[in-house]
Symmetry: D3
Subunit: 70 residues, 6 copies
């Protein structure tokens, strides 16, 4: 079992995979909220990502911004 340093690992189910020329968009339902990942087509092929599959959205803490209403 590989473990990774990223602080954010949100488990869910793939809702859809939209494929572009070199870049795909993978949407994951993490329990109500949807997370969109923009990844290479090669990654989609290698991991055989498809609708209905269990998947985890992984995000490094330094890539998260915080917004407030103010």
């Amino acid at each position: 079992m590989m473990k990774i340093s990223a602080r954010n690992q949100l488990k869910g189910t793939i809702v859809d995979v939209v494929r572009g020329a070199t870049t795909s968009h993978v949407r994951i339902d993490i329990g109500g909220a949807i997370v969109t990942a923009s990844i290479t087509n090669e990654a989609v092929d290698e991991l055989k990502l498809a609708k209905g599959q269990k998947a985890t959205a992984v995000v490094k803490a330094s890539d998260v911004l915080v917004a407030i209403d103010g």
Copy 2:
């Protein structure tokens, strides 16, 4: 009302703010899952981020990786 291009805007409540020398870690409960953001101390001060506050974790789609068990 400002709108931002980031595909991922996860609403929640700040659980804690841990302050370092120049970088703080802000943890947001987005409804069960916790998202950790690593941001500057200046941002924490300017937005007056504190435990219990409503906040949104904002992540660009190109900063999301996808992991699977396989």
Copy 3:
């Protein structure tokens, strides 16, 4: 009015929007210098980004590198 933690928020005017298969490039004139953003087509549609519109280029401090002549 939403406020966001990103240290860099450069106000300007959209110069052009070039749309790809899944990813668009938006160029913003921030007062002489041009900033290019690579974002999803969905974001372009949702924010109705178009030439001539006022827009802000938002960049997290941890995504800025520093170069010098040396």
Copy 4:
């Protein structure tokens, strides 16, 4: 002369360098606007970054978000 793929290379002058335990914040005046970079202390030492020095803020297009008032 090294050339780099990043679409955004904003030339300016360093306003200040604030050093933390492992991470420094470097602020660069790019002609009115200030850009803040969060980089390692090692990078600050190696490039001998200091107030008053000419420097370029380098940002990859995929790290730029777009915000609008709406």
Copy 5:
């Protein structure tokens, strides 16, 4: 000679350049391992990137995750 703050500057040779609608994938052999960069088509054109060319993969330390078997 430009110097850049990024801690990771891996020298190698371009193996191939795959061009998409707006985004290209450039693969660089850094001495056995291959590093893939996803950059804009404009950058590919401006730097005239092509197979066989010497190139350096540049990565900011804050964009590196660490994984272990465990």
Copy 6:
């Protein structure tokens, strides 16, 4: 065995771990070249990262820039 979408997964051995107030720097020897990762102290603790340990530097393709001499 977890699989991850990142195109760049460089296997190596940890050379050192330097701990800051909230952020650590982990250096990994990937076979000659050294890769530096800037990650949270929490990640270092959770993965029990230490000198001499096998580890993989993971980088998303969209976080790689390309530089050339020119």
